[in-house]
Each structure stands twice: as structure tokens, then as C-alpha cells.
Subunit: 216 residues, 4 copies
């Protein structure tokens, strides 16, 4: 069994739902993929606290894979992120009212970390399932990137056996049905299926990695 | 039984599929909604010829409702159109290589016609089904508007008992999966469901109208 | 001398300036183009009242040309409008708090009017001056279209000797400098120059028209 | 005197001009800012060769500041870049027909470098001059990022006394006047002024830095 921790975020920015959270609730309610032991956590959209909550979930569940999810309103596709950058720079306040400007996530941390999830493979598999998907080169500088950087820093400094990364999902249809501005969206079923694909591929990658280490 | 004619367009603009055509093929392959006798036609993306093909289909099927469909790449929602305007002004050549600039659809025709389909009700029903939908105030000046104007002119001048209109659909996922630019899309299942909703609501409106006329 | 009335709108939608108003103030402060007697008016962003204010300005100045301007935030170019439609459908309340939904501008008025300004020539001249410009096929369904329709209805029913139309201008740079979302904009100098071009070309067209009528 | 090297790119992607090149030609034709000795270079839009040409220009001119410029079509503002990432992943072929996919710029190089130019100050000064400007967190994965990463790697490994970075500029008006799709643009005068501001602020930063080092 490969233990996979999937985290999502609470609603923010005036929204009443967060598609990442909706997708994770659906995953958790369903049977886990074969060979996967799934645990989930919902993170507050608060700089710093999001990292603490993620670290607590990692400590509690001791996973082999951590897949963090977040909402990227305005995107047309599910977008696995390549890079977490050492920068908090919020265009609007977080759910605790904080708005850091040009601050590091980790003082003296490296400029950026790369995702260690197989994101090219994820994108290919999502597209093969008919779901719009693309690799992204920026996770922004808000709480999503904050927790992504926090995760990769945790892996780099304390848990090198872990693989992890971040996937942004677009708005779900329900969020845009009554907006006066035209915003792209996907169905929550598609978003959930994309996340499930990401879980399976990440778990397989973790399994192979363990095998290589064991054999090495 | 209410006879409903649904028209779609062939692929154009370098695309190999047209979501309007895919949706109509799926509708035609399925059982028609109760009380609806469905006929379909595929129109060429050629100014003028599209109108001729639409008129031929109307003559052949003698419908009570004509619902014309077309692709609006770049839109995020299914968009029933409000207005057909008396203008051909092509940003790029049609499938016959013609590119009319600032020409009327019908010389001395009125500036515009309004759709006679219940588009507000359509949008409401599509949204209730969880499908992004919005009323649109421009069908463009390409072949879609050309056939829409041609239809409304036919109704105004020769077939006042008919109701008709136009619905634009976004790209379907398959069209955008490998595009380097980020383009919004919906699944073909959602597009087809939206069209089915438009058919049902239009048929019901035609039925009520007949009832009122009969009773009047 | 050709009398040209140019109208602009007050700020709306949370903005503190309206580029149409800024451009008209600059035009009014400068020497009028040769052969043009320029008058201006600032209209409230209120359905109906905007039409009343426009009509009062027409009555007061007795122009040969009426050029109405408005802001179209999100557009990348100056866009002379082709069509005014008989529809008020506000995505958000006007400055008086009213939000008409699916109502006609003029009960039993025609579906649409076409601009009688030489908009193709305007676009060509603006582009020749290096200013992004394009013809538009929808002026929306907010107060801009409301006053545009009101103007064309006035011309059609009471002042057939008048020519008139509407030009939308994008945000000016000052409006977007500190927005967190990326919105296109032009400099107020460019917007003003585009409006001046529109004034000159419209005045010339009115002059030719008078000449033709006088000679006819 | 502070020596500042500004690089631009040749046209690419089907364009006949590149606004970065146009701006640099205008800068070079004008008097340099007080205290600045300006040199310029035009780089080929070819992975690897762009870095070689930039390195040759640095060797030839021995600058204290290197400011690399490139075109980012579709952006609404001048965007100083924060991060260069160790990734070549081209959405379309470069001018030599090469299209690297998921390759590092420098094998075993760090994941990313941060710009060492004062980009927050640049953005503030550009905005104060009325020019739309914003910090960007992704320079993409095409030749722009390639040369940006190559520059920061050169600084990190061979020329620690140098400061450097990258600024993306939007389309200039001439590139979009006749495009059928709506693309944002700025005037070449504004783009040139923004680059001049970037040069002055970078030169001042280099001067202060030298002062601090000399005093240290």
C-alpha cells in the first residue's frame, strides 16, 4: 500500500466553495484506488497556518506522497505546478486578513523548488481521459505557493523519502453560473477525476521509487 | 408532436471537428424527447450556401421550430443569441475561400432580427442543469450570423408560423487538449445536454404558441 | 461650420474617472478642428436619464453630428459601434441603483439601429495614426447602448437630418495601474486623439451629406 | 559612469518586428542617461545561441548591469521578471527550428535564480510615469527564460559583481493593428520610456552596490 495525503483549501476570495475541497471530499467518500491508502486534509487559506496544517497532516499520516491542491480561478485546465518559489506576495488579504508583500516563505531558503511528482505523465493521463490539463510554471505568490514551498522545503530538509507537489484546479461550474464576467470552469466530476489520476500516478511513482531504493 | 429542425455546421477555421455537429449527431442517434419529432441538417461554413442549405432543410422537414447551432471558440458558456444582424464581415475566409467585408446579408433587409426562441428560459434551464450558459448579444458577422439572419428573414417574410433562433456552443475539450494557447472548453456531453434542453424548451414554446393561436 | 456634439459619461462601476469624460474635457479645452463647432455634454450613467440628457444637449446645440462616447473596460482598442439594440439588460445596477432586465429601450421600437457615422473610415484613420481600433458589433445592453439606441431613435423619428453613433473607448492607464487583475488600457492622449479623429471624420461626412442634399 | 548592457531579441513567432528590439534601437539612438554608459546587443531567438550571444556581449562590454528584454505578446503591462527557471520547454519552435521539451538550461544548475535588479522599484517608477507595469513570476520556458537563466547563472558562477535581470514588454501597437484577434498593446514610446526607467534604476542600484562594497 502507498500512503497518499491529499490536501485541499477552504473557500477564499469571496467564494462559498473551493473546488479543491469539493474534489477531495468526493475522493474521500469513494473507494480508494487499488494499492493506495488515502488520507486528506483541509487547509486554511492563511499564510503560514496553511503550512502548519499541512505539516501536521504529514506528521499524522506519514505518507509516501503529498499532493496539495488549490483553486486557480480563471484557468481553463487542471494545471500541475512545476515550481514553488520562495515568495509571499498577496494580491489580496488571506482569510486571516494578512497580506504579505515581497516576503520570503522561508528566510534563507532556496529561490525555488521543483515538484517531485511526475507532472508530465499526469498531464498526459488527464488529457487521455479527455480532461483539459497543462503544466504550469507559476503557482502564484499567494497561499497556494506558500504551502507548496513549505511542502518542498519540508521534503528537502526533513523528509527526503517523500515525494510531493501541487496541482491547481479551475473554477467548478457552480462557481461561475451566475457571475456577470465570463470565467472558464470545469465540472466537479472532471476535476475529481483529474485529481484521482494525479493520485494514482503519484502513488505509482512513489512505489517505483521505493522499489529502486530497496533494490539499490 | 412538435417538429424541431436542428442545424449544425461543418468544421472550419482549421478545426477537424465542430462541436455543434458532434452534438447534433449525438442527439440524432438518441431517442427524441417526448412530443418532439427531431430532424437535423449539417450546413456548409460558406456565406449564402449555409442559408440555402438551411432553407432546403426547412422546406424538406416543415418544422415548427428551427434551432441553428454554431461554434464560438473562446467562449466559456453555451450562449443563446439574441440578435441576428444584417451584416457579413468575415475576419477570415469561409470554407469556400470567400471573405465578404461589410456587406448586407439581405439587401434592404432590416438592421436586425431578434430570436423568437425563449432564450432566457433556456439559459435558466441550462444553468439549473449545472451547465455554464449566458445570453449573448452578438453572434458575430461570420457564417453563424449569416444563417441566423437568413432564418429570421425567412420567418419574417415567408413562414410567420415558425419560431427560430441560434445557439453558440464553446469548443469541446478534444479541440483544446493540445493547443498551446489556453482556450476554454466544455465536454461534448455537456454541450449535447445543453442543446437537448434548448430543443425541449423551444418545442414547448412552439406548442404553447400553437395552442394560443388555435384558441384565439 | 459643422456643429458636432460629443457626449461622454460620468464615472461608474466603482471607477473614479471615466476615460470618455477625460477625453471630452481635453477636446473641449483645445482648439476645435477647422470647420467644426464643438459642443459637449456629460451624461449620467442612469438608464433613461442618459437619453434625456442627450436629447436636451441635442436640443440646446442643434448639431449636425452626435458622437456619443462610453467606457468599455476590458477592450484593447477604440471601438466604433455598429448597432444599437432595443434592449436594456444590466449586469449590475446603474448609478441610480436601477438594474433593468430584458426590457426594451423603446416599447415597439425596431430591434436595432445601425450607426450612421462612417465607422469603417474612422477605424482606418485611427489605425493610420497608430491607435488600436476596431469595429464592434455589440455596444452591450447597459447605459451605453441605452443612449446609443435613444440617439438613433431620435434621429429616425424626429431629426432625420442628423447623423450619429457611438464609440467605446478602453480603460485609460490610470484606471488600471494598481488593479490586481490584468486589464488592457490606452493612454488618455491616444484616446483623445482617437476621439478627435472620429470628430473630424464625422464632421466631414456630415458636410458631404449636406452638400449632396443641397445639390439634390 | 555605470556601464549598462541592454539586450533585445530579434522578431519571432511570425512577427516582423520585436518591440524589445525597437525600444533598444531607440534608446541607443538617444543620449544615454547621465552617469550611464549604454551598450546594446540583439540576440537570436534560438535556445543556447541566445545565451552565447549575451555572454559575448558581456565579455565585450564588461558591464555592471545586464538588463535583458523580450516580448511577451498578450500581456497588458511591462513586466519585470522575478525568477529564471532551469527549464527549456518550448510551445513552438525557435528561429532555428528547435523545440526543446522539458530540458534543463544548465544540467545540475539550481532550480531557479531570482533577478538581482530592483524590480519593485522599477514597477513603482514605471507606474509613476503612467505606464502599466507589474512584477511577473514567470518568464515562461521559451528563449526569454533561457537567456535570463543563462545570465543569472553567469553572474552566480563567474561574475558575482554584476547585477542582472529580465523585463518582458507587451506587443507594440503596430503589431496588433490588423490582427483579427483582440490583443493588448502599448505604444513603442511608452515601452521605450519604461526601458529607460529600468536602465536608470538598475544603474543607480549598481552604483549604490559598488559604493557599499567599496566602503565595506
Amino acid at each position: 500500500m502507498t500512503r497518499v495525503l491529499v490536501t485541499a483549501f477552504e473557500p477564499f476570495g469571496g467564494e462559498t466553495v473551493n473546488p479543491s475541497q469539493q474534489a477531495v471530499q468526493r475522493l474521500a467518500a469513494d473507494t480508494a484506488p487499488v494499492g493506495v491508502e488515502l488520507s486528506t486534509a483541509s487547509l486554511p487559506v492563511v499564510f503560514g497556518q496553511a503550512i502548519e496544517a499541512m505539516r501536521a497532516a504529514v506528521a499524522a499520516h506519514d505518507p509516501a506522497v503529498v499532493l496539495c491542491l488549490g483553486e486557480a480561478g480563471g484557468r481553463v485546465a487542471v494545471t500541475p505546478e512545476r515550481f514553488a518559489v520562495n515568495l509571499n506576495d498577496a494580491p489580496f488579504p488571506d482569510n486571516a486578513g494578512c497580506r504579505p508583500v515581497d516576503e520570503p516563505v522561508v528566510v534563507d531558503g532556496p529561490v525555488a523548488y521543483a515538484s517531485t511528482l511526475p507532472i508530465a505523465e499526469m498531464v498526459e493521463a488527464m488529457r487521455a481521459a479527455g480532461i483539459p490539463a497543462a503544466k504550469s510554471s507559476t503557482a502564484g505568490n499567494y497561499v497556494c505557493n506558500n504551502v507548496f514551498y513549505g511542502l518542498m522545503h519540508l521534503i528537502a530538509t526533513e523528509r527526503p523519502e517523500l515525494i510531493g507537489g501541487f496541482v491547481h484546479v479551475p473554477y467548478m461550474h457552480e462557481q461561475v453560473l451566475h457571475r456577470p464576467d465570463a470565467q472558464p470552469s470545469l465540472s466537479i466530476e472532471q476535476i475529481t477525476e483529474a485529481v484521482l489520476i494525479a493520485v494514482k500516478i503519484s502513488a505509482a511513482a512513489a512505489g517505483e521509487r521505493r522499489h529502486i531504493i530497496a533494490a539499490g
